[in-house]
């Protein structure tokens, strides 16, 4: 790169060219004021605060937007520059309300700071003209006060260029310019997703979160931590005043680059919610009463002893939690394996990515995202199949949009016309459960047209020839018939994917939650390997993990067949290692998976169930069956933040502290182990889960020193090789991506670089098999389920935010215009829907984003979608077929 000489103030520097003046000044530690600059977006040079003097140029240049060129002599703080900045501030004040004293942004306002720093003589200096705007309150989470807006444009750029939404824009021009939703018609008429990233970047009080809490910024404390919602693992600061969470501020850098979604930014009100469980509860005669921890522990100990001696360890089972920390999940499985003596531990990963863990472990050797989130921005082809990314992993969705804006192609396969489909190069509106023929046909095209990577297949994979037979058997025409799409689109999609140099596949529940889930995953691996698309930067297979720590809960051995680090319980060496470490004999038989635990309870095999931070009554298929199973237990412990539908069935409830009240780590979907830090003290008498578990271990007669989270992580690192080099002193800033072999290992940005984790990549022939329950005369529609942007899982947390409940208040279905007509239903009618397993109610949304004969229902609501869903399992990994079942609309209510 060409080097240039610059003289900045009195320093002469020689630097590589290519950056703007401001960047070089920042490198030198020179503080230049900016109101409109954000390093993530193209500098606009709008506010003019950053102006500098450049020798030979008779005007002042905006340092943020002006490329530095060889020989420039720059003065950043000359009298002329200082005067100009003061002029800019004075002009800004000319139309800004002089009401700092009562402004909510007081103390958190750059205009205020600079006015002080640049010693403005009087405010305002110019009193010629004021603007007169009304406040836009149309968004439920924030308001826009155009009078306080200094038109820096950051909100508009962030909305367009980073979030990829373009909901905000400038209205009118000149002095009358103001920021608003499109045509000033309010939020509802725009495509605003309430991510609040505009609010986060506003330098003044123009974009402010609506809040009932009175606080001044100098009264607050910030705690950097990890978001508790989806698997992206966004970093943010919890802003607290005393014991009250008052705001969430996104953190810059990896993985979220300063972005958040509506849940991360605004759905924090569950933390201080009045519904939090604040003391243990014991059920007596069907009614809960408050109890002390000692009472609760005594009851648990008695029941444990009684049932343990009566039925033995196999009658015990536990559900770990994808919402809890790694340390807690580690201790939870240790409690079951070492203290109780059973491998009956599983968690809701069974319902989401069990097929990924099984399918990718078999084919590649490791069941996780092969690439990093930041690599999403740099694809040249993105293939999204069975993931509604912008709603379920919004920040990754935004990164995809950034890649598309930079020219990446995008292929979307989904039964619904999801947001990403709107601008897709090819959208394949496949019928639910028809992934395999689509993928096989794409491979058919790629192979027939000689677009595959012959060398890669030869050098890095095995079993290709056998797989080829099934591929050749599925022509685009055959697949098109099964999938309900055009054969030409399959051909087009195949060519686009094969042409990519940096092609990334992204998938989620649309692939995994099928009786053929593992096969679907294997099929994806086949496609990627066929084109040589695994093991390179921005090129790979990326299963998007749904919960903040579902990756970690799996890593920690919250699964019935593996110890922490995916070491099989039936592997003698592994077991010996753990027996030595834990000082007890361990069971070599894999335990029961979640569906079998419930079946076991139903069939009187399981007597004692300990549920930590899960809500199977809502989340698991066939609610009626789940409830009956839980009712059948002898003893049910539920440990949670709230009185969930599952907690209501418990014999004893233990109040747990939320993520905001404890220390630990979450591992996000890109395998990054990140810190969780306490921002407030535990609410009420609640305790962090890692304390409760360790106390129970001792209660159950296993001598466990009460360790701190950091000490627990050291124990994990000593036993799980993929976490070998992880320790708290290494992850304070950035986190580490496993595998991290040892203390000197830097972590792994993307997997399988030179060879696959299993050695050679394994091609697996995958034949199409239909879903287990297909429409028939009695149940003629296909039901598919999923998530919506605003709610999270069983709405235990999001449902504690009024604004979110106002946006998505109740269960709904989406059906096409034609389907609606057939059932004589109109938009917003209430309808009753049944399957062979049960009945539920929902509001009807008529939309042609969904195909005829198909119905979508979110799975968030109690007694909703899972009243209908099918418990049929994938034989390999036991994931239930939540994505396909047959239903009937009984009629309008």
């Amino acid at each position: 790169m060409k080097m240039i000489n610059l003289k900045i103030n009195d320093q002469e520097i020689k630097v590589p060219e290519g950056k703007n003046i401001l960047d070089y000044c920042i490198d030198l530690g020179i503080d230049i004021p900016t109101l409109c600059h954000d390093e993530r977006i193209k500098s606009e040079g709008a506010c003019r605060m950053c102006v500098v003097e450049v020798k030979g140029i008779n005007r002042l240049l905006a340092s943020c937007a002006t490329p530095a060129t060889d020989g420039m002599e720059i003065k950043t703080h000359s009298p002329e520059v200082m005067e100009a900045r003061k002029d800019v501030l004075e002009l800004t004040w000319a139309s800004h309300p002089n009401d700092c004293v009562v402004c909510e942004a007081n103390g958190n306002c750059k205009l205020q700071d600079y006015s002080y720093e640049y010693k403005l003589d009087s405010i305002p200096e110019y009193d010629g003209h004021k603007r007169n705007f009304s406040i836009d309150n149309s968004n439920k989470f924030f308001y826009i006060d155009p009078e306080k807006c200094i038109l820096c444009g950051k909100c508009v750029s962030v909305c367009k260029d980073l979030q990829g939404v373009e909901a905000l824009g400038f209205n009118k021009r000149g002095h009358d310019t103001f920021v608003s939703f499109a045509f000033d018609n309010g939020m509802e008429q725009s495509n605003c997703v309430s991510c609040g990233n505009c609010v986060s970047v506003c330098p003044t009080g123009a974009l402010m979160e609506k809040s009932n809490i009175i606080f001044r910024s100098w009264e607050t404390k910030k705690t950097r931590t990890t978001c508790p919602y989806c698997g992206v693992g966004c970093q943010f600061d919890i802003v607290t005043k005393g014991e009250q969470v008052v705001r969430i501020d996104p953190a810059p850098g990896i993985p979220n680059d300063g972005l958040l979604c509506v849940k991360g930014k605004f759905a924090y009100k569950f933390i201080n919610h009045k519904g939090r469980l604040t003391s243990p509860l014991i059920k007596e005669n069907g009614v809960f009463r408050e109890a002390s921890w000692d009472e609760a522990y005594e009851l648990i100990a008695n029941k444990y002893t009684e049932l343990r001696s009566k039925y033995g360890a196999p009658a015990f089972a536990g559900l770990a939690s994808a919402k809890c920390t790694n340390e807690e999940n580690y201790m939870f499985q240790k409690l079951f394996r070492a203290a109780i003596g059973t491998n009956n531990v599983d968690h809701c990963a069974r319902l989401c990515h069990a097929s990924t863990v099984a399918g990718l472990a078999t084919t590649l050797g490791s069941g996780a995202m092969t690439n990093s989130i930041e690599e999403t921005k740099n694809h040249d082809v993105i293939f999204v199949i069975g993931s509604n990314t912008t709603e379920t992993h919004p920040v990754i969705g935004s990164f995809m949009k950034q890649a598309i804006a930079k020219g990446s192609k995008i292929i979307v396969a989904d039964p619904r016309e999801i947001e990403l489909a709107e601008n897709a190069d090819v959208f394949l509106k496949i019928l639910p459960g028809t992934n395999v023929p689509l993928l096989n046909a794409m491979m058919n095209v790629i192979y027939s047209e000689n677009l595959h990577d012959v060398q890669y297949i030869a050098e890095r994979t095995e079993n290709f020839d056998k797989t080829l037979e099934t591929i050749l058997g599925t022509t685009p025409e055959i697949a098109a018939e099964i999938c309900g799409i055009d054969a030409a689109d399959i051909v087009k999609a195949a060519r686009i994917y094969a042409a990519g140099n940096k092609a990334g596949i992204y998938y989620a529940m649309g692939i995994t939650q099928h009786s053929q889930g593992t096969n679907n995953v294997k099929s994806i691996a086949n496609l990627a390997m066929l084109c040589g698309n695994v093991g390179k930067e921005s090129t790979g297979i990326n299963p998007l993990r749904g919960q903040n720590n579902v990756q970690g809960a799996c890593d920690m051995g919250g699964l019935p067949d593996v110890f922490p680090g995916y070491q099989k319980v039936f592997n003698d060496d592994a077991r010996a290692k753990f027996e030595k470490a834990w000082g007890v004999k361990l069971d070599k038989t894999p335990g029961l998976s979640l569906p079998h635990v419930l079946d076991g309870a139903y069939e009187n095999q399981i007597k004692f169930l300990y549920v930590m931070g899960e809500n199977p009554v809502v989340s698991d298929p066939d609610t009626t069956h789940v409830k009956k199973s839980l009712e059948n237990l002898d003893f049910l412990i539920v440990q949670d933040l709230f009185m969930t539908e599952t907690a209501e069935m418990a014999d004893v409830i233990l109040p747990a502290s939320s993520y905001a009240e404890k220390e630990g780590t979450f591992t996000n979907t890109e395998r990054r182990v990140q810190m969780v830090r306490p921002a407030i003290n535990p609410v009420g008498e609640s305790k962090p889960d890692y304390i409760i578990i360790q106390e129970l271990m001792n209660l159950f007669g296993y001598k466990q020193d009460i360790l701190t989270p950091s000490e627990i992580m050291d124990e994990i690192a000593s036993l799980a090789p993929i976490y070998g080099g992880v320790s708290y002193d290494r992850i304070q800033e950035l986190g580490l991506q496993w595998p991290v072999a040892d203390k000197s290992h830097p972590g792994t940005k993307f997997l399988h670089e030179d060879k696959f984790a299993r050695g050679l990549g394994l091609f697996s022939p995958v034949e199409y098999a239909e879903a287990k329950e297909l429409p028939d005369e009695d149940f003629p529609l296909i039901l598919t389920t999923g998530r919506v942007l605003y709610h999270f899982h069983t709405i235990t947390m999001t449902g504690k935010n009024d604004e979110i409940n106002e946006i998505v208040p109740e269960n709904f279905i989406e059906i096409s215009t034609k389907t609606a007509k057939e059932y004589k239903l109109k938009h917003m009618d209430h309808a009753s829907i049944s399957s062979r397993r049960g009945t539920t109610k929902a509001v009807v949304h008529v939309t042609d984003k969904i195909g005829d004969g198909v119905m979508f229902m979110p799975f968030h609501f109690a007694d909703g979608a899972n009243m209908l869903t099918n418990t049929e399992l994938d034989a390999t990994c036991n994931i239930p077929e939540l994505k396909v079942c047959a239903v009937q609309i009984d009629g309008k209510l």
């Binding site: 040079g45 709008a46 102006v51 937007a65 000149g174």
Partner: protein, 513 residues
Amino acid sequence: MNRNILQKIKAETIKTNPELLEPHKNLHEKEVRVVLKNCDIIDPENINHYIAKDGYFSINQALNDMTQVDVIKLITDSGLRGRGGGGFPTGRKWNFAYKNENDTKYIICNADEGDPGAFMDRSVLEKDPHSVLEGMIIAGYAIGAQTGYIYVRAEYPLAAKRLQMAIDDALELNILGENIFESDFNFNIEIRLGAGAFVCGEETALIASIEGNRGMSKNKPPYPAIEGLYGKPTIINNVETLANIAQIILNGSEWFRSFGTEKSPGTKVFALAGKIKNTGLIEVPMGITLGEIIHDIGRGVGNKRTFKAVLTGGPSGGCLTEKHLDQKVDFDTLVALGSMMGSGGMIVLDDHDCMVDIAKFYLDFSVEESCGKCTPCREGTIQLYKLLEKISNGEGTIKDLDKLKKLSLAVKKTSLCGLGMTAPNPILSTLEHFYDEYLAHVVNKVCPSSSCKGLINEYIILDNCVGCTICAKRCPVQCITGERKGLHIIDQDACIQCGECFASCNFDAIITK
């Protein structure tokens, strides 16, 4: 390649329309017509007429006999400078884009003529649209572009219509489209209509507008020649610049340099407007004196008034006064005098025009037309306007004059684009040349031109009234009475101080107090 076709069309057209060969009747002997040579002679909706006047022979010649470098060299040698106001050497601009190795490049014709009182480009677009197209095609060939856009303001519907006809006709003759004149050069032109924003005449805002974005300026550099439309190298030339191109190719750079001055060769079209007898478009060689334009061609201010100033460069320019009448009109001299060439509007003022009011008029325009992006322009122009309003209302102080100057300089120095950088020019220029007039407003609370309504308490008819009755007829509230040939009187209670009587009196019989 097919020069014969052109020859044939030319011969046939002249045969049936011999009047096409008649020379243009100039307004004045000092006029020289290069850009306007076809205007009012040819039928702008007939491509054959344009060809009959040697139209499209230049692009044919360029494609046949000249390399891209030859074309750029010829334009560079001619010394042609951008007629949009900036005066940047056209050949040099083209060379930037030519040297860029990007395989997609664009030519844009800036036909967003927006200065108040300027209508030079409009005439060319409406009366000789092919000359602009030919200039664009040659420019496209020279830099290696395949697509051109004409950004024409929607307020020029006839221009847009005729441009589209011209494009269609040129396509039909394969003067546009694929393999022009059987060469391997392809070029197409599309029209984009502006939406009434003055700032879209600024090239980065213009590009944003074509891209479908809001018309807001961007920081320069990067300049459009390096990174313009859709991020590709883009040359933006003004209508008049492009209309010169074919003539230079046909007649050579020496011929072009035979007009004008060493540093500003060629001619310039001006729109004469305001208090001048001969209003309208003129085309004169650069270097002509201001006096020659005002007094010889424009025949002075007339109406027994005295010449006070001429405004050049529209809202971005400044004023030139009596003492500048001997100065040459060219790019560099005008800038040195504190004004600028601008696109060619010249508005002449007489002694009834108040310079504070004129500055206010232009600032009002800039306030309206500021895009709102950068702080100095958005906030500064309106504060400048408000200061001028205060002064013209008689509420100003000496301190306000200092403030006016300081703020003008601040806006000029820190604004993002040309609009803001030049918006204070009318103030700075009038402050420089008419400071006494400002002082009269703030110290004596008098508007010497009897123009600022806020400083006028009453209109009084003096004894020298001849009773012509004009004032009484013009008065909108009928408050002036008097017999024909008798002294008239204003009923001060009914008078609304509109100033119509004052403006209409040809005998200086009405004064203000």
